[in-house]
């Protein structure tokens, strides 16, 4: 299933980028002669029949060769790896922090849902889905970097991770920004999963055998609550990834998002394609992992491969 999805994505990307957009014209100036156009086309390989281009494309991908950038002729794959140095830590740290924020907030919002602070938490987490992450970034930069001079306003140390301290410092504000927004959104799901579990009768029945509240919750509640949250977590990771892409603009970080934006503007199709393919593969992989994890925890899901969609819908 995963492979099928990936294959489909590859085909779609090819169609969109090569067939529907003609990359030749970005490389030549207006008024070029036919010979010049032909030469440019030959250089890019777009003069050969479509199916041949597709085969080349697939062959390239099989060897993980993502081609060369149109603008600077450097291998796309290498550039992606280089940019990951920034985007990967940014995404992962934001994800972890967002979970750290979301779980207690969501849990408390559910458990103390009738108190004023429980409702306050719920209201706050509603904001999370409504606030644009780049806005929070701008405001935080304005306040903490420019006004109070606590953090750098942007940029990433030239020496990359050779100085981990400086690198982390540069990433602090971006990470916090993404974590706040993604975390409060996640808190909503944690809250509803917790509410769901707290209302479940197996907790009550367990307590009737003499188990304390905490014990019953720990033994039965947590695992049951985790199941729906896992797929949300996978989506959350994708969300923090996208958040990173946007935030890189706010904080002028040389990551994958920056690469994508520049590539789009310069119509550097191999680069655009490379980044999108990478992101797609990442998202699909995450979904797959989440699926596997859910099946491991919940024995009811282990039956069929795709969960027998039609039967499920009618039941």
């Amino acid at each position: 299933m995963l492979l099928l999805a990936l294959a489909l994505a590859v085909v779609i990307l090819f169609v969109v980028l090569r067939v529907l957009g003609n990359p030749v014209f970005s490389l030549i100036s207006v008024g070029a002669t036919d010979a010049e156009i032909a030469a440019a086309a030959a250089r890019l390989g777009v003069d050969r029949p479509l199916w041949q281009q597709f085969l080349d494309y697939v062959r390239q991908l099989a060897t993980l060769d993502l081609g060369q950038s149109f603008t600077n002729r450097l291998p796309v794959g290498d550039e992606i790896l280089r940019r990951l140095n920034v985007t990967l830590p940014l995404t992962l740290l934001s994800f972890v922090l967002s979970v750290v924020i979301a779980v207690p907030v969501g849990f408390l919002a559910a458990w103390k849902s009738r108190t004023w602070y429980g409702s306050a938490f719920s209201a706050l987490s509603q904001l999370g889905g409504a606030v644009p992450v780049f806005w929070v970034g701008i405001l935080l930069v304005g306040l903490l970097s420019l006004n109070w001079r606590l953090f750098p306003a942007g940029g990433f140390p030239r020496r990359d991770w050779e100085d981990p301290g400086a690198a982390l410092f540069a990433l602090t504000l971006p990470v916090v920004t993404i974590a706040i927004v993604a975390g409060s959104d996640l808190a909503r799901y944690v809250r509803s999963a917790t509410l769901d579990v707290l209302g479940q009768q197996y907790l009550r029945a367990a307590r009737a055998t003499g188990q304390g509240f905490g014990t019953a919750l720990r033994r039965h509640g947590i695992r049951n609550a985790v199941v729906p949250v896992i797929s949300i977590l996978a989506i959350q990771l994708s969300t923090t990834f996208v958040g990173a892409v946007i935030i890189e603009r706010v904080f002028a970080l040389p990551g994958l998002g920056d690469m994508l934006l520049v590539a789009i503007r310069e119509q550097d199709f191999p680069s655009v394609q490379g980044v999108i393919l990478f992101s797609t593969a990442l998202v699909l992989l995450l979904g797959f992992v989440a699926d596997v994890a859910q099946r491991l925890i919940d024995p009811r899901l282990r039956g069929t491969l795709s969960g027998n969609r039609r039967a499920k819908a009618v039941a």
Partner: protein, 288 residues
Amino acid sequence: MSTAAVAVVTEPRAPRRARRRSINLAVGAVLFGLIAVVAVVSLFWTPFSPEETGGGRLLPPGAEHWAGTDRLGRDLFSQLMVGARLAMLVGVGSMAIAAVVGVLVGLVAAIAGPLVDDAVSSLLDIAIAFPTLLLAMLIVAWRGASLESAILAIGLAGSAVVARLTRVTAVRVLGRDFVTAARTSGTGVVGIVGRHVLPNVWPTLIVPLALQFGGAVIAEASLSYLGLGSPPPNASWGRMLQEAQSTVTVAPTAALLPGILLVMTIIGINLLADGVRDVADPASRSIR
């Protein structure tokens, strides 16, 4: 001593919850309504022309320029109003595209055989998991930055969820006995779809489409912020924020107001959607 009314054990907080729900609905309606009204008004009147760079640069809010001016001297209030119009356009446009495309795809999946259904469902699963913004960026890369591209991209991205919902409901309805009866009596597929499937499908779509509205507004703002939205003459709150970023310490209003309006719009439509859901299906415990 009063003989108590019949005790309802399933909805213990009925009175309090009902009150909270109607507050939600009211607040949502007010917030969203405000933005909608501003959007409509902007069609006929704005204090200044949003492109006119006459006023002084980066002026704070004052008597003449109610929200101040941006770094090029344009009136912020007018820009905000036009931004509201754009947000509404984007919301409605992408909602429409998501609805039409989604319902069509969902219906096809439900009606065509299990093979097509499985293929489409797998595609939908991927589409739903794939981040909207990336998809939008891809489409913008292909078609160039413009309002239409943004609306199209966001609408398409949102159609996946609609398609899945449509498919589930359609499959369920088609499996019912009265449909089999209708088919044996010779009613064509189109008739069945029109008379039985669609009326069951569209109520389930109200809330997701409303949520799609909010998502679209944020997605467009993000695209504009990144420079991939509709180009300069069209004011977008996202683009305003991008322009305000460099001068945030000097002119904080320019950076605050567009964001606040964005939040208002989204919360407004979310609360409205919640309120509508509670009214339409009070049995569903609102998990907000």
